[in-house]
């Protein structure tokens, strides 16, 4: 079964073709790397699959079903800081657990374990404005684990982590994703390929030609 299947999709942004007649599938549980130069349509494609953008033509299936509206099962981790600047992270977690319908939410102990794994357990009472970019990204990763989405796109999330930390974290994260059969896409710019793990598939978007410029 496929996690997503896009068939002959086209997407225009202000009359400019960003994606033209493009097809792609990804199997459930696969962890895939998308690399390629910026401006190539990777982010647009990710947002289309997560239903944040509407396509102009084509077909999208998500877990073999038509799915056009956003859902908790498809999480797009954006390349901006989308943590709530008015909440500390422990307040944010409480907000998520109280207001989001997660099938079997993590226990406090599990959350603590993940935050230690991501080396941010000492920052739980900080506001987003008080922490660094790399720490912000790790909080976004922790949030993705808490939300337990079936499909997650990390848009440049790992680019801001220093390379030693990234090498340490990736094998552990991969293990968690594989255990929960999470389907993952990691978007990364060209220079940043050293993840210290083997991906199920690595797509280079510079040769895929999302659009025929």
């Amino acid at each position: 079964m496929n996690a997503f299947e896009v068939k002959n999709i086209s997407f225009l942004y202000k009359d400019k073709k960003v994606i033209n007649n493009f097809s792609l599938t990804q199997k459930i549980g696969d962890v895939v790397l998308w690399s390629g130069p910026s401006g190539g349509g990777k982010t647009s494609l990710a947002k289309i699959i997560c239903s944040h953008l509407k396509i102009n033509s084509g077909e999208i299936k998500f877990f073999d079903k038509e799915s056009l509206s956003p859902a908790l099962s498809k999480l797009y981790v954006c390349h901006e800081n989308d943590l709530f600047e008015w909440q500390t992270f422990s307040q944010h977690i409480k907000f998520l657990l109280n207001n989001v319908k997660i099938a079997s939410p993590l226990t406090a102990v599990e959350i603590q374990k993940y935050s230690e794994l991501l080396e941010i357990s000492h920052l739980m009472n900080m506001y987003p404005s008080q922490i660094s970019m790399g720490e912000t990204r790790r909080f976004q990763i922790l949030r993705s684990l808490i939300l337990k989405s079936d499909f997650i796109v990390f848009d440049e999330t790992f680019a801001a982590l220093d390379s030693e930390l990234k090498k340490r974290l990736m094998p552990k994260l991969l293990e968690i994703w594989k255990k929960h059969k999470t389907t993952v896409v990691i978007i990364s710019h060209e220079a940043d390929k050293n993840f210290n793990v083997t991906f199920d598939q690595a797509l280079d978007f510079s040769s895929l030609l999302l659009n025929d410029k």
Binding site: S69, C78, F84, E85, F95, Y127
Partner: protein
């Protein structure tokens, strides 16, 4: 001699300002909840925008006609002046929630009312406070104008009395008192804002 007039003006402003914020928020929410087709309707938006421009003082004849010279007619004039700027700021915040927060709220499947009160509004606290301060300034402008025309008390009324007496030094004192009252309220609001939004960097 000044005390009762200072008290009268400040009471009107505080009550009128509080109601301005409340009504401004409610009207902004109502407008936001209208079907998209109405929100984008040119005629509807023209009506909403036109009604904001006549200054509060222009409505005084009607307010006197309907409610006479009373405490609540003065408060009504304050609301006519203080509500539109806050309403405009609130509606603007609601329709221009940042994309990153809008996408996240949609993914989290928050209900519209929750995403308004837990995401859209808190993400723009600074603008809410700015809107409230602009509204406060308008409230003071409205109450003084109103008291000069249709009131038996308050600092605006005092200016009229002193003008008739040709005591211009007292008129100047009245103006100074109004300035100090407005300034103190504004500073108090700034202190509250700074305490509340402690996460903001200087």
């Amino acid at each position: 001699m000044w005390f009762e007039h200072i008290l009268a003006s400040n009471t009107r402003v505080l009550i009128g300002w509080g109601l301005s914020l409340l009504i401004g928020l409610i009207l902004a929410l109502l407008r936001y909840y209208l079907p998209k087709i109405v929100q984008r309707n040119y005629l509807f938006n023209l009506l909403v925008d036109l009604i904001k421009f006549p200054p509060p003082i222009a409505w005084i004849p009607f307010v006197i006609l309907l409610f006479g010279i009373s405490f609540w007619s003065a408060v009504l004039i304050v609301i006519v002046g203080g509500m539109p700027p806050f309403f405009t700021a609130m509606y603007d915040i609601l329709i221009h929630t940042e994309e990153r927060y809008r996408n996240l709220a949609a993914t989290l499947q928050l209900k519209k009312i929750k995403s308004v009160f837990f995401v859209s509004l808190p993400s723009q606290w600074s603008r809410i406070y700015t809107g409230a301060r602009v509204s406060l300034g308008m409230c003071w402008m409205s109450i003084v104008a109103c008291e000069m025309i249709s009131s038996q008390s308050g600092l605006g009324y005092l200016i009229q009395i002193h003008r008739i007496d040709l005591s211009y030094e007292l008129v100047l004192t009245d103006i100074l008192i109004i300035a100090v009252c407005g300034y103190v309220m504004n500073q108090l609001l700034l202190i509250v804002e700074k305490k509340h939004l402690s996460w903001r960097q200087a």
